[in-house]
């Protein structure tokens, strides 16, 4: 495994705050290590059945911080306006004086569009630092210290908070966004013709079709292909195409060839190319052992953000094949065509890719969203999960409309948000499992947990809509949106554990129904997201993202009424990307970032406990934005145990 594999091994982020032990002495058996057969059937799911289960990957040793700031206490909002002096003491106060304002004009000029390779490298370094930092954090804020380095610098060098804009803090993203929305107010009623991205995203997911026998339609198809805002390619080190979001092999073969040539040119020079800008699009490369992944985006994400997306696609491939099995295939035959063993997983890769193109808060923040429930209700559900837990269960999840309701897990194994993202994608974006109309038993590798072996996942869906009060078996197939569906997901290392987990599901459902929890869950799903003005009456805020860093979870209000439809959603996400990058890029010195545009004003605010991104209308003042942000933080403080799963059901 090449150098950059460490992230995959160690990126197990905690879910919940329970400390983990890392000795690995009581590892659960992971069934079916792959890859010890001969090359011929190296893509089979299990071959080395006689071998002992593979060891879990090494886990980072935990430096449990001596004291985690008590959640409630540290959310105290001070009235101070001076900046914090103590590194270990996060301030959660936000005052106007702390806010750095970024106007559109500065952005346009300050940004170098073709971020030099030096900058790219910085981005990626900051990205990986953050990745590892989080993974080591064990749920404790202070352990993520690597990711705060820039922030801490900024505090020491605090005057720059208010003064000059570091050029690198403004990103091509903001520029691109500004360019796209030149004279529109995208969050109000916009004539869509004037907005390229809004217009194009409507067709972003249309099929391109394939080249006909004579190649006569090739030109037309290529035109359509070129209008896509975003492309993802995966190719093998030897240049074989493995995946492309748009266009079939024939259509894109030239482009794959070019990409391969460029990549190998730089690899040959021992100076791998990480990204470049051409034709208004940002190209970002990620090399992962035998695979090269390429993202091409006109949506203005930063390199680090695009690389996170590529990492996720890579994790999906590992989830299908496991790392040793994939490596084995390539070491046996470097020209292996990975399409065959990956057959049928295009829908999963597409699901991820399209999520990134639409803009996924979950991916942007590397965090998960939970269903908001009363603390006592959540506890009742957790207790039920623990009561019915069957002996071979590793993880159990209740997921509603893409949001987590509850988790049951062993004390020493946390859940990696990246793994959960893969599961959610499989359940809610790809149709196969949901539309199957039955229960499912799915072998999969959760690379964040252990990228060398398979686990087995029991999945059962329920419709939660009123009209369908019948049991799980009666769920109408392929009907109903994903928004009213509830999935019970039970994961075990036991290949033959289906009936055991099925029994657990039956017991769980019966008890949840008897103790009223099922109704509670269903009504919470039906209620959906609260709007911003429900949360903070009278606020100027139109939307926000709040990430609790310790819990690796985020919460947000509904997109309605301001961000209706794909185009507006996308634009909002672009803004969030920009804000995110402005406080995360290595060169960012900012703890609070304030952006003003013709279409929106926005604010990003980072502390060791949380990240908060707020968006208001174009006329909102800095003070009202700051006030809104403070009130969100107050609301979270009150609701913390409702909007987040703190700990979950741990055994």
């Amino acid at each position: 495994m090449p150098d950059d594999s460490s992230a995959d091994h160690e990126a197990t982020q905690p879910f919940g705050v329970a400390p983990r032990t890392t000795d690995g002495s009581e590892q659960p058996e992971v069934g079916n290590k792959v890859g010890d057969g001969d090359g011929a059937d190296g893509d089979d799911m299990e071959q080395s059945r006689e071998l002992p289960p593979p060891p879990l990957p090494p886990r980072p040793s935990l430096h449990v911080p001596s004291s985690r700031p008590p959640a409630s206490g540290s959310f105290r909002l001070s009235k101070r306006t001076s900046r914090p002096q103590l590194l270990s003491q996060p301030t959660t106060a936000l005052s106007v004086a702390d806010v750095h304002t970024q106007g559109r004009g500065e952005n346009a000029t300050a940004t170098s569009s073709s971020a030099s390779r030096a900058v790219s490298r910085k981005h990626s370094a900051s990205h990986s630092g953050r990745f590892l930092g989080n993974s080591d954090s064990g749920g404790e804020d202070s352990a993520s210290v690597i990711s705060y380095a820039p922030t801490l610098d900024a505090r020491l060098d605090g005057e720059s908070l208010l003064g000059d804009v570091p050029a690198e803090a403004t990103t091509p993203a903001w520029r691109a966004l500004s360019a796209q929305i030149e004279r529109d107010n995208p969050f109000e009623t916009v004539p869509p013709e004037s907005d390229v991205a809004t217009l194009q995203i409507q067709h972003e997911f249309d099929e391109i079709g394939s080249v006909d026998a004579h190649g006569s339609n090739e030109e037309t198809l290529l035109e359509a292909w070129k209008t896509k805002l975003k492309h993802f390619f995966i190719l093998s080190a030897s240049g074989k195409p493995i995946y492309s979001r748009h266009g079939d092999d024939q259509l894109i073969s030239n482009y794959i060839g070019i990409a391969q040539t460029i990549i190998s040119f730089y690899q040959g020079a021992d100076d791998p190319l990480r990204g470049f800008t051409a034709g208004g699009a940002r190209f970002v490369m990620l090399s992962k052992g035998p695979l090269n992944l390429v993202a091409v985006s006109r949506l203005g994400e930063s390199d680090a953000q695009l690389r996170t997306q590529l990492e996720s696609l890579y994790m999906q491939i590992l989830s299908t094949l496991t790392l040793p099995s994939m490596e084995k295939m390539f070491s046996n035959r470097p020209s292996t065509d990975l399409r065959r063993p990956l057959q049928g997983t295009d829908v999963l890769l597409d699901g991820l890719a399209d999520g990134f193109t639409r803009g996924s808060p979950s991916t942007l923040l590397s965090a998960l969203e939970c269903l908001r429930l009363r603390k006592t209700h959540r506890r009742a559900i957790n207790d039920t999960l623990l009561r019915v837990r069957s002996p071979n269960l590793l993880y159990g999840l209740i997921v509603a409309a893409g949001r987590l309701v509850s988790v049951v897990r062993p004390k020493k194994h946390s859940l990696h948000p990246g793994d959960l993202h893969l599961i959610f994608n499989m359940l809610f974006e790809a149709g196969s499992v949901r539309a199957g109309g039955g229960e499912n038993w799915i072998p999969l590798c959760l690379p964040g947990f252990n990228n060398t072996g398979y686990l087995y996942m029991y999945v059962s869906f329920f419709s939660t809509s009123e009209r369908d009060g019948s049991g799980p078996h009666e769920r109408p197939a392929a009907t109903g949106g994903k928004d009213d569906e509830l999935a019970i997901v039970l994961i075990s290392a036991q290949k033959e554990g289906f009936y055991e987990l099925r029994k657990m599901r039956d017991d769980l459902v019966e008890q949840l129904e008897n103790n009223g929890s099922m109704d509670v869950i269903k009504s919470a799903i039906r209620k959906g997201h609260a709007s911003c003005s429900d949360i903070v009456p009278g606020t100027v805020l139109r939307h926000f993202l709040y990430k609790s860093r310790g819990n690796v979870q985020f919460t947000m209000p509904s997109f309605e009424p301001y961000f209706h439809g794909l185009g507006h959603r996308r634009k909002l996400m672009s803004l969030y990307q920009t804000l995110h990058e402005s406080i995360h890029s290595r060169t960012a010195h900012l703890k609070v970032q304030h952006c003003v545009g013709r279409d929106a004003t926005a604010l990003a605010w980072e502390t060791p406990l949380f990240e908060l991104y707020c968006v208001a209308g174009p006329q909102a003042t800095r003070a009202s934005l700051a006030q809104g942000a403070n009130r969100i933080v107050q609301w979270i403080r009150r609701e913390e145990e409702r909007v987040f799963i703190i700990g979950g059901a741990v055994f």
Partner: protein, 224 residues
């Protein structure tokens, strides 16, 4: 749950038996579509490839005294899942091996499944061969790649039930499953205390979910 409902509702003298059925065949021949037609009477023109395996149940009445419940494993046809198949067929009482009548190669694959079943599965397993997508050749006869007579001859010599089906139009779908049910040893299975037809545990259970739970995951000795 369905099983419990079934149990209570039977008058004395009625026969109720439960059997495990597995579907095998190349990817995209229509296994999931056949099951969905049988279980929900639905069909999707576009259906994503199965990931892993899906488990569904369906109960049919053979006559007003006899009810058969199928516990159906719809397996994934993709190559990489091949080695998991024994887990699903090892305990099965019956199997439907599906090919696509417009794809000759899919019959070859079906034949290799039949061979594997006859070698490795329960020795009394009832196997049905289903040539699916019959609707396609009804419209365009030149699309047919496997002649009915050829497949029928193969089925006869291999002792298989045989149907040409269409999940899309429902043609022969109910018939297929009913024919299988009629060949199953209902008499044996519905006598309390009997073991499965092959004398193995787990092949048949009498609606007792606990029993299904302990036996169904495959016999303990499975080392696949």
């Amino acid at each position: 749950m369905a099983a419990r409902m079934q149990q209570g509702g039977r008058p004395g003298g009625a026969r109720f038996a439960q059997f495990k059925l597995v579907l095998l065949g190349e990817s995209a021949v229509g296994k999931s579509s056949l099951v969905l037609r049988f279980v929900k009477d639905q069909f999707d023109d576009y259906r994503e490839s199965t990931i892993g395996a899906a488990f569904l149940t369906q109960t049919i009445a053979l006559d007003d005294q006899t009810t058969v419940k199928f516990e159906i494993w719809d397996t994934a046809g993709q190559e990489r899942y091949k080695s998991l198949a024994p887990m699903y067929y090892r305990n099965a009482n019956c199997a439907v091996v599906v090919y696509d009548i417009t794809q000759a190669s899919s019959l070859d694959k079906a034949k290799s499944w039949v061979k594997e079943l006859q070698r490795q599965a329960n020795e009394n397993i009832i196997i049905a061969l289903a040539g699916n997508k019959a609707d396609l050749v009804a419209e365009q006869p030149d699309k047919r790649a496997v002649q009915t007579a050829d497949a029928e001859a193969y089925a006869r010599e291999s002792n298989l039930l045989f149907f040409e089906t269409s999940a899309k139009t429902a043609e022969n779908v109910k018939e297929l499953f009913t024919a299988i049910a009629k060949k199953l040893p209902i008499e044996q299975a519905s006598q309390r205390g009997m073991r499965g037809p092959a004398g193995r545990p787990g092949g048949v259970d009498l609606g007792n979910r606990q029993e299904a739970g302990s036996a169904g995951g495959g016999p303990g000795g499975c080392n696949c």
